[in-house]
Amino acid sequence: MAKEKKNKILVVDDEPDNTSIFSMSLEDGGFEVDAYTDPLLALSMFKSGHKKYDYLVLDIKMPDMNGFELYEEIRKIDNKVKACFLTAFGEGYTEEFGRRFPTSTNVSFMRKPIRVDDLVKKVNKMVNT
């Protein structure tokens, strides 16, 4: 049986419960998932280049480095990588999002709390376009 090539997803969220849930959901959805609660650690792993990711799922509000900043840093290494931002905040972040990413082809947005099915659907859609 040929091994299916699975899409690789990087999940970063400072709440351990969230990384658990998102990892499990996406794995159930057929993806390969690496999850980190520390954005700085995630960045250094990305830099060391062991893996290439098809998609990023990033929480925005994190201490040390927020999701937007992390994405900017990652883009310096791979500027084609796509990402989905997760936020629990309201309009404030949609504004900043609109400012930072006026052309939103590679990035999209989801508001927490997120249903497992919705997450899988969204990632499927973004990965396959």
Partner: protein
């Protein structure tokens, strides 16, 4: 030259010469009056001897209406008072005319001073001339002020209250500058436009005000619209003023509302020492020069008028302040809602996520149920705290007060926590320092549940920050100081981060994994609602921190039993 006017019925205008003729003519005219005698006199003293008796007699004879205008001064008050018994008297500053006009005739002396050897007197009974003079008299009469007021001013030494209009721009400017220079206590200033501020700045008004503040400790309040240019001017002024000086009140409030919202948009209002007001219009706000821009001005030192301008200023001042407070409050509300909703979504996400996954992962059911429970409790605590915060902020926190002994309550709570600590294997020791003194009970009137909430919050924090150390000690103590009880909770933990210390009791100051970030804000609010105070400081020995709060002792000391009612 005839000695007397021709009274044969023809209308004439003539000039007569000599003092004698002047006097005769005067009395003839007065005696010729039927209904009205109006006199303007610039030298009442000299004329008193000759004319007053004449006037008095004629007025009494025919009941004529008698009006008299002169410049009332200290030296002529008594003559004025005499005339005031005969008819109406008014005062006009600097009057320089002499005439009498009746219903039919007019007579005037060009100069009626003793020094002039040959005064000329004009007479006329020509209708149009007489009417002209009556018109002139009316105008002077309307400008003049009642004698009583002037006499009061002179005799009472009080300044006469006047309100008048100034048309000449130079005079307005001079008056403005003089008023500002003369201020002793306070200046209120409303400027209607940005250009007005700049004009007055160029004129030197702002500098004069700063000088007044520096030299005479004058209180200055200014209401003005601002823009970037003005903001930078002000910054420089305030900086140079504050350097090394004792700072008296320079209060400037920017009107950030649109002109329609503000009460005043077209005039400048200046009020000095609550005694004088100057209000001037702009005819052309685009002009850079004050003289060119200013229109009419109204000056007043009449109390009711000045007070009305003060009240305009004060209400606008307060309005601007309230507007700013409202904006700040709205901003803080918005921030709170943002953070609160974020905090709530976190455990909600966990509950929803695990609930979604639990079906597909029966092998992990135990762990997931625990996580769901944990997060549900977290969510419950958070919603309770948020509700408490909204109650506190809207002043609807209801306290159910009873009298109880705080020492007993603390003993009970500590006992509970000792049990909890043992169960959780926390390597923390909890001590309670309190010697029950039968003669000195500590009764307080308080909401027992809420005080328990406060103490629990402080103990939870203490445990949280001490559990990371090998052997932590938490000691709870209570003592009486005058009419208060002081409760302290001291720990040997990590201490308070100095950066957070100033904001420690604010909402969401610290967000830890198990805390809500609202505990201290709520605790402090509860204590303050009871009339107490709460504060925190790091321990002087460098190990840990101490949280302290006070509560007022019950003023009515009932006999307090040392066990609680329910036997605990």
């Amino acid at each position: 030259m005839s000695a007397e006017p021709d009274r044969t019925g023809t209308t004439i205008t003539q000039v007569l010469y000599g003092v004698e003729n002047a006097v005769k003519l005067f009395s003839r005219v007065v005696y010729g009056a039927n209904t009205a005698i109006d006199i303007c006199d610039d030298d009442i003293i000299s004329h008193a001897a000759t004319s007053h008796k004449i006037i008095e007699k004629r007025v009494q004879e025919i009941g004529a209406k008698f009006r008299y205008i002169t410049e009332i001064k200290n030296d002529n008050i008594k003559y004025c008072k005499e005339l005031m018994k005969v008819g109406q008297v008014r005062h006009l500053d600097g009057i320089r005319t002499n005439f009498v006009v009746t219903d039919t005739e007019y007579s005037s002396s060009a100069i009626m001073q003793q020094v002039h050897a040959h005064p000329e007197t004009v007479y006329s009974n020509v209708r149009s001339i007489v009417e002209q003079q009556r018109y002139l008299f009316e105008n002077l009469w309307n400008k003049a002020i009642p004698a009583e007021r002037k006499i009061n001013e002179i005799e009472g030494g009080i300044e006469l209250e006047k309100t008048y209009v100034i048309q000449d721009p130079q005079s307005i400017q001079k008056l403005f500058v003089d008023m500002v220079k003369s201020v002793q206590h306070e200046v209120l200033l409303i400027l209607p436009t940005v250009n007005a501020f700049l004009r007055e700045y160029r004129m030197g008004i702002i500098q004069l005000l700063m000088q007044a503040m520096r030299e005479r400790s004058v209180n200055v309040r200014i209401l003005t619209p601002t823009n970037d240019v003005i903001d930078s001017i002000l910054k420089n002024i305030v900086i140079s003023y504050q350097e090394g000086e004792r700072r008296k009140d320079f209060n400037l409030r920017s009107i950030n509302m649109s002109p329609e919202e503000t009460a005043v948009s077209t005039v400048t209002i200046v009020v000095v020492d609550k005694k004088e007001s100057l209000v001037f219009e702009k005819t052309d706000d685009t002009k850079e020069n004050f003289i060119e821009a200013v229109g009419m001005a109204t000056y007043s030192n009449s109390k009711p008028t000045v007070v009305s301008y003060i009240s305009i200023f004060e209400s606008l001042w307060t309005q601007v302040d309230l507007y700013e407070q409202l904006k700040t409050h709205d901003k803080m509300q918005k921030e709170f809602i943002n953070i609160a909703s974020h905090e709530m979504k976190t455990p909600t996400q966990a509950i929803i996520g695990y609930a979604d996954l639990i079906h597909k992962h029966p092998e992990k059911r135990e762990d997931m149920m625990q996580s769901i429970s944990r997060n549900a409790v977290r969510l419950q605590r958070l919603t309770n705290d948020i509700l408490d915060v909204t109650r506190i902020d809207s002043h609807t926190l209801n306290l159910h007060k009873e009298q109880f002994n705080i020492g007993n309550l603390l003993a009970y709570i500590v006992q509970d926590y000792v049990g909890y600590i043992e169960k959780e294997n926390q390597n923390v020791k909890l001590f309670y320092n309190f010697k029950q003194d039968i003669n000195d009970p500590l009764p307080i009137d308080a909401d027992e549940d809420r005080i328990t909430q406060v103490v629990s919050n402080l103990l939870n924090n203490a445990i949280k920050f001490t559990s990371k150390k090998k052997e932590g000690v938490i000691s709870v103590s209570v003592e009486r100081k005058k009419e208060e009880v002081i409760v302290s909770i001291k720990d040997t933990g990590e201490g308070i981060n100095p950066e957070i210390l100033p904001r420690l009791f604010t909402k969401f100051a610290t967000r830890s994994f198990s805390g809500t970030g609202l505990g201290l804000y709520i605790s402090k609010s509860i204590v303050e609602a009871h009339g107490g105070k709460m504060w925190a400081e790091n321990n002087p020995d460098g190990e840990g921190a101490t949280f302290t709060f006070t509560l007022p002792l019950s003023s009515s000391r009932k006999t307090i039993m040392f066990s609680r009612k329910d036997g605990r």
